[in-house]
């Protein structure tokens, strides 16, 4: 510890960067949450944790949502990671045809506002859904998609791409030479998979499970559409705040929700950091993949096709709904809904693009910087920085929003109604995924590479920019692309801080969903999807070119 201090004093640039990062984290992550905690525990200055007492008394409207949320979270984490692993394995470790298409399909749901999937689930599987009616006419079966089945289905589809992105990076980082050695030494394919590939992927799997579990717990867009008689914690917290104007109840519910997510976070850190697998040696492996045996290849191909088909079907429904005159009554083709979106929503869309465009580069660079500090540098408070920067990841967005209103409505920092408050929420709510990706990627890169750069006399920024950044460029680009789309499709936190001056397109979409205006909601969904898709393609192209131009070769 003493030597860490000494080293820090000898590196004033590093010290400065660390202090600035800590100041930002304290102000924009910790302070709003402290305000929320304060609201849950104190009433007009006196200690009065009324709703915590109710909770421990076992009032069903407080206990039931917690149990429901946990059930959904565990199921979605398992299903989501399993689906993601199948996709990631198929795309990185086999030679099935159509890999580019599958990679696209597996990341596609990330760019859509999640409640679009819940909408689609109702259009397909609701009481009067297309599939429901078809099966009912033929076999007389009936079911209810509302509640647990709908929640698990839609959240799995919505959040498995996060796991896929993590696992794809991790699996792609595993040098095929290791697998080949195992095969050459006489291990069977199956044995190689279970004894080499899977263990190397465990940090990634842990990260993926955690990611999906937490996302599921904090989701409110899908539940509010499809939870039916199965209330979950986020929706109850959201309703308590926006509907009952009951800040203490909402704050208490969200702090109850924080306990499992923080536990998951701590567990994951312990598990992942215990095993470290460095397989990248600085020079990316150029070894090709061996052809996969037919008995692995084609069943896997069939499974991936089936899963892709389901995802595509869900989005096809949204597009179909968007071009439909009046869903459920008149399915005539129309452009009317888009005319509506462009007359009502054009301004909202511009706002969203502007603010997300400002937030993305700032959040992207800050995220990778923190990932770098946390995984590469030794300094006092490193654990705290890691923990704090990831905190918003485990906090339901709606609480971040309320925290910001409580924290920044009065001087010294008065931000209510400004664009800045939305940008700040975008940055600090979405950054953790960038950090998580960055850390996962950095764990695959041998630390001696940037130690070498330092030893050769490169300063902090030079090492970061010329060595670390290019090495993690794929994660950085995917992180930026993710962050931008996450900003554009973000709703739960920003709904509390949008103002007359700065209204966002997702808020407009949520109101259509709230009012069950399905065709108009679908049209909004399609427009958002197209915009995000276009921007990501552009970003990928521009940034990818830039990096290639600097002389970086392949992955």
């Amino acid at each position: 510890m003493r030597s860490a201090f000494r080293r820090l004093i000898h590196d004033p640039v590093l010290l400065g960067v660390i202090l600035v990062v800590f100041a930002l984290l304290a102000l924009f992550i910790v302070f709003p949450l402290v305000k929320v905690l304060q609201t849950s525990l104190f009433h007009k200055g006196t200690f009065e944790p009324k709703y915590f007492l109710y909770f421990f008394e076992g009032r069903p409207y407080l206990i039931r949502p917690l149990l429901n949320s946990l059930t959904v979270g565990v199921l979605v984490a398992l299903f989501g990671t399993a689906v993601a692993f199948v996709f990631a394995y198929a795309v990185t470790r086999t030679d099935i045809p159509g890999k580019t298409a599958f990679r696209w399909i597996a990341t596609f749901p990330i760019i859509s506002p999640p409640f679009v999937l819940a909408l689609s689930a109702i259009l397909l599987l609701g009481r009067n859904g297309l599939i429901t009616q078809l099966l009912q006419a033929r076999w007389g079966t009936s079911w209810s998609i509302y509640g647990l089945p709908g929640l698990v289905l839609t959240e799995t589809l919505a959040y498995f791409p996060l796991a896929f992105m993590t696992l794809e990076g991790v699996l792609a980082g595993i040098d095929p030479a290791l697998e080949e050695s195992a095969l050459d030494l006489g291990a069977s394919k199956l044995r190689t998979f279970f004894r080499v590939t899977l263990p190397l992927a465990t940090p990634g799997l842990a990260a993926a499970l955690l990611l999906v579990f937490i996302r599921s717990l904090e989701d409110f867009g899908n539940p509010i559409v499809i939870q039916g008689r199965y209330p979950v914690l986020t929706v109850q917290a959201y309703l308590a705040i926006t509907g009952m104007y009951n800040l203490p109840l909402g704050a208490t519910l969200s702090i109850v929700l924080l306990v499992p997510t923080l536990l998951a976070f701590v567990l994951q850190r312990y598990w992942v950091t215990r095993r470290s697998y460095v397989t990248v040696t600085g020079r990316p492996s150029t070894a090709g993949l061996r052809s996969t045996e037919p008995w692995v290849k084609w069943p896997l191909f069939a499974v991936v096709c089936l899963l892709s088909g389901i995802i595509l079907l869900f989005y096809a429904m949204v597009v179909y709904g968007a071009f439909t005159e009046l869903w459920g009554v008149n399915h005539a083709f129309t452009f009317e809904n888009f005319a509506y979106v462009f007359s009502t929503g054009a301004g909202y869309l511009m706002n969203t693009l502007k603010l997300a465009g400002v937030a993305t580069p700032i959040g992207g660079i800050l995220g990778i910087l923190i990932a770098y500090l946390v995984s590469r540098k030794r300094f006092p408070g490193r654990g705290a920085m890691d923990f704090l920067s990831m905190l918003n990841f485990a906090v339901p967005g709606i609480i971040v929003g309320i925290g910001y209103i409580l924290a920044f409505n009065t001087p010294p920092i008065q931000l209510t109604g400004t664009a800045a408050i939305i940008v700040l929420i975008f940055i600090f709510q979405r950054m953790p995924v960038g950090i998580r990706d960055g850390i996962a990627m950095l764990q695959q890169v041998d630390p001696t590479i940037d130690e070498a750069a330092s030893d050769l006399g490169a300063g902090f920024f030079r090492t970061f920019r010329r060595v670390t950044l290019p090495l993690v460029a794929p994660a950085f680009i995917s992180g930026m692309a993710y962050m931008f789309s996450a900003c554009i499709t973000s709703i739960s936190a920003v709904i509390m801080v949008v103002s007359a001056r700065w209204q966002l397109i997702t808020v407009a979409l949520l109101h259509e969903v709230d009012n069950a205006d399905l065709s108009q909601a679908a049209a909004y969904g399609v427009v958002i999807i197209l915009v995000v898709l276009g921007t990501i393609l552009l970003l990928d192209l521009v940034v990818g070119r830039m990096l290639l131009g600097r002389g970086r070769h392949g992955r």
Partner: protein, 331 residues
């Protein structure tokens, strides 16, 4: 550097030119986006030098927002939402009184605040929306009594709004309390909640759900049942409970400390004029200006059996009733 300076100057001059001569009014409204646009666009056509920037929020969110922004109000006018939310806002000191308005003269006492903190702009009645196809298939008549909702055909087949997120939902709860007394009214809500398929956040959402056939019966305001169900072409039929039904007063107020009080008053006066109130027929609402034109087939107060709805009592007892409701239903 010089380039940057030039650019900045051009941008500033451009911005100044574009904004010249046009004043901006900031408004919160609880009207649906589609509906709010009707009035706001008509207002802007009438007053081309005023631009309205507005946000749609549910009445509950709106009040939460006003409370959060009390130290630094971001809007000047609050348009629409049930009067009980306005009563709460008045008690919290969030509103600015205005008694020189156009509507103050013609509005009867029950449609305005005695001190002028808010005025009514329309009224509406709680009604049942039923899916015609479902009724035909099961050989049922549209429900005409609160007790009809308890019949087994409607088990897990009702949809309505949470009383704590929606003005519609709370008006329904309060109506049952006024009708049956507090204990029995709440007990009635509990029995209905066992037949519920799901609760919705927004008051009018159940009408579309009924239209789609996702549920058989919904409870919403009559104007929403007509506008979002029948008028859109959904197989929806409107009916009222014979025991009596509740009503809302859709209100409007100036926000205390709002940035544009004078512009807000222009809108306020206009919204109470016969010209603006006649626009309500496009949404099948019942206007309060006696000179306003009515929509064809509009259900007016003399055609339904109304309970004695005490909005002040409803507003003051809101938190208590909702807490009891939650304990009883578990939602």
């Amino acid at each position: 550097m010089r380039k940057l300076g030039t650019l900045l100057t051009v941008a500033l001059v451009g911005a100044a030119l574009l904004g010249w001569g046009q004043q901006v009014l900031h408004m919160y409204t609880a009207f649906d986006v589609d509906e709010a646009k009707i009035y706001i666009e008509a207002f802007q056509a009438r007053y081309p030098n005023i631009k309205v920037e507005w946000v749609r929020l549910s009445a509950g969110e709106l009040l939460a927002r006003l409370r959060a922004e009390a130290g630094n109000p971001q809007a000047s006018l609050w348009l629409a939402g049930p009067s009980d939310t306005f009563i709460l806002a008045k008690q919290d000191g969030l509103l600015e009184p205005y008694t020189e308005s156009l509507g103050w003269q013609y509005l009867p006492d029950k449609f305005k605040d005695p001190d002028g903190y808010w005025v009514g702009v329309y009224t509406g009645f709680i009604a049942f929306a039923s899916n015609k196809d479902f009724l035909a298939k099961h050989g049922l008549e549209p429900p005409t009594s609160w007790y009809d909702l308890l019949s087994p055909e409607f088990d897990k087949n009702l949809s309505m709004a949470f009383p704590y997120t929606s003005g519609t939902g709370y008006t329904r709860l309060a109506t049952l309390v006024f009708l049956f007394g507090e204990k029995d009214g709440l007990e009635f809500e509990r029995r209905i909640s066992e037949h519920i398929h799901h609760y919705t956040k927004a008051g009018s959402a159940c009408v579309t759900e009924v239209g789609l056939g996702e549920v058989a019966v919904g409870i919403a305001f009559s104007h929403d049942v007509i506008a979002k169900g029948i008028a859109k072409g959904y197989p929806v039929v409107l009916s009222f409970p014979k025991e009596g039904t509740g009503y809302e007063i859709g209100a409007m107020a100036l926000i205390k400390g709002g940035p544009e009080p004078e512009l807000a008053k222009v809108f306020y006066d206009w919204m109470l004029s016969a010209e603006a109130q006649s626009l309500f027929k496009r949404w099948y609402r019942v206007p309060l200006n006696p000179e306003a034109e009515l929509a064809e087939g509009l259900v007016t107060a003399d055609q339904v059996n109304l309970v004695d709805y005490d909005a002040l009592w409803a507003a003051e007892n809101r938190d208590r009733l909702i807490e009891q409701w939650q304990a009883l239903t578990g939602y």
